[in-house]
């Protein structure tokens, strides 16, 4: 029941969270990332996300496989938006369903941290006075 997608359409949180619910589960933890209007006082007008799509999908699949090995969870959904996003629009949703919620919290947090580190997607911030490709801070260790 796992799934992972890239999309240029708006993402509905519920549609992701509710696609991962198997009958043995009782809780789903969902991370909803969205376009922040102010970062350190500077105003963002909108964002643009670009991906190396086939590799991004492969990396998302690897994250899902590793999370299923490492955590006692039932299913995972990951959807990342691409293209232009307005303020407040969802850029990424990660939902994790588990029989016990503690594992869902840990796995969801691990997934977003690893997604930001390894999945080849880049964010461009468009400000009133310019624009900037954001560069990640974390190392990617080649396998």
């Amino acid at each position: 029941m796992d799934f992972f997608e890239l999309t240029t359409s708006p993402i509905g949180i519920t549609s992701v969270a509710r696609r991962v619910v198997p009958p043995e589960c009782g809780a789903t933890v969902t991370l909803d990332g969205y376009v922040r209007q102010f970062t350190k006082g500077r105003e963002t007008l909108h964002l643009f996300y670009e991906a190396y799509e086939p590799m991004a999908l492969k990396e998302m699949q690897k994250l899902i496989e590793q999370a299923n090995r490492d955590f006692e969870i039932s299913s995972i959904g990951i959807v990342h938006r691409l293209g232009r996003l307005e303020i407040g629009e969802t850029s990424v949703v990660i939902s994790v369903a588990a029989p016990h919620r503690a594992a869902a919290f840990v796995a969801c947090e691990w997934l977003i941290r690893e997604l930001k580190r390894t999945v080849p997607i880049w964010k461009k911030e468009i400000y009133a006075d310019g624009e900037e490709w954001i560069e990640g801070e974390k190392d990617v260790t080649p396998i």
Binding site: E50, A51, S91, V119, W122, K123, K124, W133, E135, I143
Partner: protein, 79 residues
């Protein structure tokens, strides 16, 4: 040998291209390609660059092979 180089985000903007075919000597590495690019586009050397070959992260010293798809990009920033 021929390889295809892909650029994304900042590297695509710096180089002014998203894709180019490169004719390389045998035993060429992504590091050598980067050094070559840095001559024409010195701004590239000021960023931390990640390398993927055939959609997998690899160290910059990996040997390239004919037909490889080499992706050159800055640290990812999705999420």
């Amino acid at each position: 040998m021929m390889i295809k180089a892909l650029f994304f985000g900042l590297t695509a903007d710096l180089i002014g291209s998203r894709s180019t075919d490169l004719d390389l000597k045998d035993h060429a590495t992504p590091a050598a390609v980067l050094d070559h690019l840095a001559v024409a586009y010195p701004e590239i050397a000021r960023h931390r660059i990640l390398i993927a070959v055939n959609e997998e992260y690899v160290p910059a010293e990996t040997l390239l092979r004919d037909g490889d798809e080499l992706a050159i990009f800055t640290a990812v920033s999705g999420g």
